[in-house]
Every structure is written in structure tokens, then in C-alpha cells.
Symmetry: C2
Subunit: 116 residues, 2 copies
DNA sequence: CAGTATCCTACCCGATACTG
DNA sequence: CAGTATCGGGTAGGATACTG
């Protein structure tokens, strides 16, 4: 008798009360959808992501990329054995299942701006 | 020369660096999509929302409903002049433009659970 | 180039009690 | 019934300096 309701959903060790909250738990936060949006059509290097998102700090970008990688949505590939490093980020096959959702998120943002 | 980049989007007084982040700013957070998900097909009273979301606190539910109302996504209608009150929440026409997005969010949550 | 390490702040959100 | 008031903790995220 620890849980209030038995209908919890689980994903990667976390519990969610609803399918919608699960999705938001994975792609929520201030920057994750922005990262996914930029990786939707392109594989990008770390520095390219920084240029695409000039208002995020290095620390935050790094942490969010790590989160997304741990959730299996993006892949991180290192191309150089020693510094200067070349690292590329790309959507995984699982991450690509989010593309329609990311597109809908982006489209609604544009729509809302056009209304206001 | 106050902004770093001139390409900021604005919605209801807030600035966003990208259309995707705007959407997440409006429907992000832990509970907003869950509320919208439950209001997607039904008009619901406050107490009905509470029953549908047993793990949210009254304070948080109240604050999130107010946020959604201020952003024009839901309407709040009071049916009684004095306590006990009857209040119903429903999506506005603008809020209904989010339905395909909410459905995609919910569908991906179900999909992710089925993968795990 | 691609990140960590440290430090710090804001605010989101929970718990509980009270009110029109 | 449908909320607010008050208090407080946890953590997401920012600023800056440093490293392989």
C-alpha cells in the first residue's frame, strides 16, 4: 500500500501517472525539444548545436544531451582519438519516432506566434 | 543591443529562442499536458479533474489551471452564485488547436511504454 | 573542440491548513 | 465545492573558470 493508484506507467525507472506526463518527462524541460528540433533533419556537432542555440549555457547543453542519450533518443559519436575532438550527435531510430511530435510542437509554436 | 540574437519569438509577454521552445513554455511543466489531455474530450469540474489526477496537489492544480486560462487555452465557467460552487473547465477554440499535439504526446507515451 | 567543475539562484511543486 | 495561504524542499538551469 505505497502507491495511491495502481495505474502508474513506467519508463526507464521513472513512474508517470499518465501517458502524456511520460512523454513530457522525457522531452520536457527548457531545452530538450529544441535540441531534438535541431537534430531532426541534421546530424550536428557540439559546436554547431551551440551556434544553433546561442542562449543555452555549455553546462546545460551538455547535461541535456547526456539525458537524451541515456533515454536512447540520440547517439553520440566521437571521431577523433585525441583533442581537438570531433563529436557528432544524431537521432537514434527510437528518437526518430519523435519526429512527428517535434514537428507538431514546432508547428504549433509558429501558429501561436501568428495568432498573437 | 540588449538581446544576443534578433530572432526571438514572443508570446504573451515572454520571449523564446525557437518555435519549439515556445510551445514547451506554454504546455510544459509537470501537469499542463495532463490537464489538457483530460479536457481534450470532456468539459470537467474541478473535482472531476482532481479525481482524474489523484497525485497532483490542490495548490498545483489550481495554479496550472490559472496559467492555462491566462494563456487562453482553457475557459473557466462558474455556474453558482454562492458556495457550494460549481465550476467547469473546458478547452477554448484556441486550446482546441492543441488537440492533435496532445494526442501525439499521449500516443508517444503509450508507444514508449510498449517498447520498454 | 568538446566538454567538466563549482557555485549559486529561482522557481516549480508538494504538504497542510484554512476560506467564500 | 472550489479553491487560497503559508511554508518549505528539491532541482533545473544559469555564470564562470578550467581541462583532455
Amino acid at each position: 500500500m505505497e502507491e495511491q493508484e495502481p495505474k502508474m506507467l513506467e519508463f526507464r525507472g521513472k513512474q508517470y501517472p499518465c501517458c502524456a506526463s511520460l512523454t513530457m518527462g522525457v522531452i520536457g524541460g527548457k531545452w530538450k525539444t529544441v535540441i531534438l528540433f535541431h537534430l531532426m533533419n541534421n546530424t550536428l556537432r557540439y559546436s554547431e548545436l551551440r551556434k544553433a542555440m546561442p542562449t543555452v549555457t555549455e553546462r546545460t547543453l551538455s547535461l541535456q544531451l547526456k539525458d537524451l542519450e541515456e533515454d536512447g533518443l540520440i547517439s553520440r559519436t566521437v571521431y577523433t582519438p585525441k583533442p581537438p575532438l570531433k563529436v557528432e550527435y544524431a537521432l537514434t531510430e527510437f528518437g526518430k519516432t519523435l519526429i512527428p511530435l517535434i514537428q507538431a510542437v514546432a508547428a504549433w509554436g509558429d501558429y501561436a506566434v501568428s495568432c498573437a
